[in-house]
């Protein structure tokens, strides 16, 4: 079962926090800080799994963002690792080359996407087309024109379709990728 989902940037700013257990605000803050401390020290040669209290965190880094899912210790690591990727691909479709700023300016939409894919701590939907829904009018998703601060590191695309090690290697570059074709 998923205990919480966190999206943080390298500086530790939370871009999304979704809780599937009851915590009070102080505990949430503490967890956020601990996760950040645990995850950011790891490098590309490390696994994508970290023991965390009585649970484990499955995480993946996309450009400057860490997507972390905290699950029970006997949950399937790879399934959740790919669930993260699936989620990022859906975000990518939804925002047409997602970047960190999309998550900032459209935080309320991200919550909706999360609820489509994960509910009550379980995976609800895995089909990208069903989770993402029918295409929207293009005027709203024109890259660059969506938010006033579209440049800088937080405007970097997350490249969800790049695979594993390359993904991390590219994380330092600022090149915009073409919109990926999801197979």
């Amino acid at each position: 079962m998923i205990r919480f989902i966190l999206i943080q940037n390298r500086a530790g700013k939370t871009r999304l926090a979704k809780w599937y257990m009851q915590f009070d605000d102080d505990e949430k803050q503490k967890l956020i800080e601990e996760v950040h401390a645990v995850v950011t020290v790891r490098d590309a040669k490390h696994t994508n799994f970290v023991e965390f209290r009585n649970f484990k965190i499955i995480y993946r880094r996309y450009a400057g963002l860490y997507f972390c899912i905290c699950v029970d210790v006997n949950d399937n690591n790879l399934a959740y690792l790919e669930a993260i990727h699936n989620f990022v691909e859906v975000l990518n479709e939804y925002f047409h080359n997602v970047c960190e700023l999309d998550l900032v300016f459209n935080f309320y939409k991200v919550y909706t996407v999360v609820d489509e894919m994960f509910l009550a701590g379980e995976i609800r939907e895995t089909s990208q087309t069903k989770a993402w829904g029918p295409p929207r009018s293009p005027s709203l998703s024109c890259p660059g024109g969506r938010h006033p601060a579209g440049s800088g590191p937080q405007g970097r695309r997350l490249h969800p379709t790049a695979s594993g090690p390359q993904l991390r290697a590219e994380a330092t570059s600022c090149v915009l990728s073409n919109r990926a074709v999801v197979v």
């Binding site: 040669k45 490390h46 399937n76 509910l119 009550a120 995976i123 609800r124 939907e125 089909s127 709203l140």
Partner: protein
């Protein structure tokens, strides 16, 4: 999710977020200023006369939400958010629900409105709105919502399918799951449960994905109700696994068909035993399965089960086969998705643990991953193999990978991978490879990360002990541990080595030599000094013959470390020194000099000072053979002069003696406390490889594991064992060594760490000096502890309390006699009269009220404090009791419930209830019928409770029922005797069941023989058997219902040395030891 319409973007919100982001780069104050400005603006809009349109309302609520997520408090806007719920526009509704989910408030007024809105949406037949409402319930998951909707949601879940309703079903399934987890009582099981199972057949894969999670959760609580899910899950899985990589369209992920659904189905199957019962042979995990009975009541597999089984095996094999196929894509997503299924398949195979072929294939597959370039895969393979190692079928296959695993331990960059490698080595270790594994772990320890050193140390210590072929290897290993990672060697570890060395005399000399050598290193760890101090103090004499390690050399070596050590270690070393005086009289002058030095006698640390003073006095008062005799001090002691009364009493005629400085007696065997510690440290998964493969952490609370706080305190192995002939005194000395007293105010002999003398197994010898000196429990002033009367007058706990401190002494009086006054104080006198024949006994207890006031609620109860016994039957048919003829009653009559006595019970005691009132001056009688079912070590306890003058009184005593009461003497010829004597010595293990005691007055023939009729009747003293006429030998048989235990005794007095040696041999080691302790008290 519906199409996003125009107007979805909220320009005002975007501007606000930009402003905040600009503030971030300036200062926190600027941000707060901006936020306050916005809050004021929103407040005025909400309060304004002009009604806000939906868009504005949505925009402002969304701004509030953003402010809240930044970490600021929001105290208004809830009503506007609730208003949004009833909007007809999706985007407005969505913001409303989001606000409610994130800022849920227990305001009752709002909850009612919210629930109303949810109800409307659930009834709307608009799938989008229904989903929003269900998501809100699932996200909030409060009890109020459960009460309002738990009954409705199952209906939505199993409603007649319509295409557009699929997404609603998905949400409903998981919403129900959330409510069930939060408050299971609110979710009624019923007719819908059967239909939920059939959702596994749903055409819509998303519905199945959600439903499997719900079923997995529900079936854990009610395995039988859901067992039809097995065949449905298998067939669904089979369809997915065998489908082509594009068949499932949307649900194919990087050429892998429905990976998440497959994983979920495989996990669901892990809730059940293999279809059709264990597939092959007896399955060791059978009992742990949720639906265990499924496998038990199916002796022959039905054809349906066989079909399911066949299909499932096919699935598992297909997955294993696919792992060998060339990848369809080079993308890591492809291999991850494929391997997610593979690992879950292997988990299921391990869970079934009955198909050797599959287990070995799984192991081989994992073996390939051990060298994979993906760190993730290496990590998971190591983790998975750990559980495979515990299966008898795959243990050998796992062992073949030992070199790879050792290599992983050395070369992996990620500490968590190395840790898994260490876990796996631990799991695959057995006698054949223990030496290799332990030495590799030791080598790794030198460079290991600090984070996992302690765990490695524990593992090494456990493996070294468990698989030690010779104990010198074990000693070497532990000393190496201390040398390499002394800081991480916890008390449990070095206690354990002392315990083992003490118990095994074949290793003592080697241990002494080795620690002596280790101590010669210029810098050695303090733990090494502790171990060295202890071992040399005990066994230094074994190497004293070598001039290189002569006593003075040993002493100066230890003393050279003294000043660099902590107080605890120094205290231990002082105890070593006093033992040296005993072992090596030639060191006495030197050591006395050290003790006398101002740095000791006037040490600022009270503990050290006290030891120095006591030991110095001890060494000078005592005669050459350092014999310390003492008796109970007559009155209260002043806490500051604790040491003196102890020694002053030496000059008085002793009643009981104790040799303080003797060698330690063997420790009792028990579960290694190290293992307990490892389990505690690692939580449920710790020793997984050794005992239980599968961890179940679903019930864990995330806060539970913040730190490894031990829930139970592991008693160090040095805790006094109740059973030593040395009684509490030697226990104390052991405490000296092993438990440095935590504070200077500790009482004389650190007894605070000892169990109260009333512990059930407290030895018969606990009644000697130091019990009195130190009283029980936390009372810091020993002599001022409760007197028997005080203890008696203090109100007792509801259940049976601990026996009073002198219970043991009272018991000792009755070891060799059957009648007398068991207990007496100002209120109550308890007399006892008993007779025993074979394994039966009858005891009369007389309770005399010594006051003039009536006792009320007078309830004497008898319990047996041992582990697995006691069936006390207080409801004994009353007509039998009063007029039983004298002598033993007919046991046929008296044993109406013998079926009740299980085979583990040691004693059966039947008591008759007595009148609840005892008048002043009156005496009541209670009859106890006792049957010895098997050998026992601890006497039953008698607890008496009553009310006297309004105050409730309670008292617990040990009933004078000891095992020697069930003796039957036997005659034996000299030849027979020594033949059996030899046999029994072979039987009894390494721990000698003999006791040497120094005695002021050796027992002489006449002291024994004068007692012969009354006290030694239970053992036949055999004349003309022992070649030495000074010695006594005797033989007897312990009669119990279950078995008879033969017992031989030999007592060898040595008048010159004022010592005697008592040896008891029986076929049961604990019995020998126990008898020895009982009898030793009698001289």
């Amino acid at each position: 999710m519906p199409a996003v319409s125009k107007g979805d973007g909220m320009r005002g919100l975007a501007v606000f977020i930009s402003d905040i982001r600009n503030c971030e780069s300036k200062s926190k104050e600027a941000e707060i200023k901006r936020i306050n400005k916005e809050l004021a603006n929103i407040r005025s809009k909400f309060k304004g006369d002009k009604a806000l349109d939906g868009y504005s309302k949505k925009k402002y609520v969304c701004k509030l939400l953003f402010i809240f997520l930044l970490g600021h408090d929001i105290d208004f806007g809830h009503m506007e958010a609730v208003n949004l719920l009833s909007s007809n526009k999706y985007t407005e509704k969505q913001i409303g629900y989001l606000f409610i989910s994130v800022l849920v408030n227990s305001n009752s007024e709002l909850i009612r409105l919210i629930n109303n809105a949810i109800k409307n949406d659930l009834a709307s037949r608009n799938p989008t709105f229904m989903c929003l409402a269900l998501h809100c319930i699932a996200n909030v998951g409060s009890r109020e919502m459960g009460e309002a909707f738990a009954a409705d949601i199952p209906r939505i879940l199993v409603a007649v399918p319509r295409d557009s309703m699929d997404s609603v079903k998905q949400s409903a399934a998981l919403c129900l799951l959330r409510l069930y987890k939060a408050s299971p009582d609110l979710v009624p099981m019923g007719e819908w449960t059967a239909r939920v199972v059939h959702l596994l057949n749903d055409q819509h894969m998303g519905v199945v994905t959600a439903a499997v999670s719900l079923i997995t959760c529900l079936c854990k609580k009610n395995p039988d109700d859901f067992k039809t899910c097995i065949s449905l899950a298998v067939s669904r899985l089979s369809r997915i696994v065998s489908s082509a990589s594009t068949d499932l369209q949307d649900y194919t992920y990087y050429f892998v068909p429905a990976p998440w659904l497959s994983v979920k189905l495989l996990r669901l199957l892990q809730c059940y035993p293999p279809p059709g019962g264990p597939w092959q042979g007896p399955c060791p995990r059978q009992v742990s399965w949720a639906g265990g009975e499924l496998s038990q009541d199916v002796p022959s597999i039905s054809s349906e089960d066989a079909a399911v089984k066949g299909r499932l095996v096919e699935c598992l094999e297909t997955v294993l086969n696919k792992a060998q196929e060339p990848p369809k894509s080079k993308k890591v997503q492809h291999s991850n998705a494929k391997n997610a299924i593979l690992f879950e398949t292997i988990s299921l195979i391990i869970h079934y643990d009955s198909e050797p072929n599959l287990l070995v294939r799984a192991c081989n597959q994992l073996g390939q991953f051990l060298q994979h370039r993906e760190t993730n895969l290496r990590y998971l393979a190591l983790e998975s193999m750990c559980t495979l190692a515990s299966s008898e079928f795959s243990h050998e296959a796992v062992k073949t990978h030992i070199d790879t695993v050792i290599n992983a331990l050395k070369t992996e960059r990620d500490v968590s991978v190395r840790q898994r490698a260490a876990d796996l080595l631990y799991a695959m270790c057995d006698r054949s490879n223990a030496k290799q594994i332990v030495s590799e772990m030791l080598r790794y320890l030198e460079t290991a990360d600090y984070a996992i050193r302690e765990e490695i140390v524990l593992k090494v210590a456990i493996l070294a002990e468990k698989y030690a072929v010779d104990y010198s290897w074990y000693v070497d290993t532990i000393l190496n541990l201390i040398r390499i990672a002394g800081d991480y060697v916890s008390e449990e570890v070095w206690y354990r080595v002392l315990q083992i060395v003490t118990n095994r005399d074949d290793v003592q000399g080697y241990a002494a030599k080795t620690v002596f050598e280790a101590l010669q290193a210029p810098a050695c760890h303090e733990n090494m000094v502790k171990v060295g101090g202890y071992i040399l103090g005990e066994f230094g004499n074994l190497i004293a013959g070598d001039p290189r390690s002569s006593p003075p050399v040993q002493f100066s070596l230890l003393h050279s470390k003294f000043h660099l050590c902590s107080v605890a270690t120094r205290a231990l070393l002082l105890s070593t020194y006093i033992k040296f005086i005993n072992l090596f009289p030639e060191t006495k002058a030197t050591i006395q000099g050290v003790l006398r030095a101002g740095s000791q006698l006037r040490n600022a640390d009270v503990e050290l000072q006290q030891r120095a003073v006591e030991y110095l006095t001890l060494s000078s008062v005592a005669s050459t053979d350092v014999l310390v005799r003492a008796r109970s001090p007559p009155g209260p002691l002043h806490p500051l002069s604790l040491a003196l009364p102890l020694l002053l009493t030496c000059s008085r005629p002793p009643t009981r003696q104790a040799t303080v400085l003797e060698e330690m007696p063997p420790f009792p065997e028990r579960e290694s406390s190290i293992l307990a510690k490892l389990k505690r440290k690692k939580g449920p998964g710790a020793a997984s490889a050794l005992d239980d493969g599968r961890r179940d952490a679903s019930s864990n609370d995330i806060n539970g594991g913040v730190e490894p706080t031990p829930s139970t305190v592991v008693s160090p192995p040095g805790r006094p064992r109740g059973g030593s002939t040395w009684g509490i005194v030697s226990s104390h000395l052991r405490l000296y060594f092993l438990q440095s007293t935590p504070s200077p105010s500790a009482d004389l002999l650190g007894l605070r760490a000892a169990p109260p003398p009333a512990a059930p197994q407290a030895p018969a010898g606990a009644g000697n000096l130091l019990v009195d000196v130190s009283s029980d429990g936390p009372v810091a002033q020993p002599g001022l502890g409760p007197t028997p009367e005080e203890a008696f007058l203090s109100p007792g706990p509801e259940d049976i309390g601990s026996p009073i401190p002198e219970a043991d002494e009272l018991l000792n009086k009755f070891v060799c006699k059957n009648n007398g006054v068991l207990f007496e104080n100002q209120l109550l006198q308890i007399g006892v009269k008993s007779e025993f024949r074979q394994n039966l006994g009858r005891m009369y207890l007389f309770y005399g009220n010594k006051t003039s006031v009536q006792f009320q609620s007078f309830t004497p109860t008898v319990v047996h404090p041992g582990d697995l016994q006691t069936h006390i039957l207080s409801a004994w048919p009353s007509p039998l009791a009063p007029d039983l003829p004298p002598g033993l009653p007919s046991w046929d009559e008296m044993d109406p419930v013998s079926g009740f006595l299980d085979r583990w019970a040691q004693l059966a005691v039947q008591t008759k209830r007595v009148a609840a009132q005892v008048d002043g001056g009156a005496q009541v009688q209670q009859v106890l019928n006792i049957e010895c079912l098997r050998d026992f070590l601890t006497p039953p306890l008698l607890s008496v409770r009553f009310r006297y003058g309004g105050a409730s009184q309670s008292l617990t005593l040990k009933l004078p029922v000891t095992i020697n009461k069930f003796f039957q003497p036997t005659e034996m010829a000299a030849q027979d005797f020594f033949q059996r004597w030899k046999q029994l010595s072979l039987l009894s293990g390494p721990a000698p069941n003999r006791r040497r005691r120094k005695s002021s007055k050796p027992p002489t023939p006449w002291t024994l023989k004068s007692r012969r009729p009354s006290s030694w009747v239970w053992l036949r003293l055999l004349d003309n058997v022992d070649p030495n006429p000074e010695n006594f030998v005797g033989a007897g048989i312990i009669q119990t219902k279950a078995l008879q235990v033969g017992c031989l005794l030999r007592l060898e007095p040595n008048a010159q040395a004022q010592m005697y040696r008592l040896t008891l041999r029986t076929s049961k080691e604990p019995v020998s030891r126990h008898l020895c302790e009982l009898l030793a008290q009698q001289f």
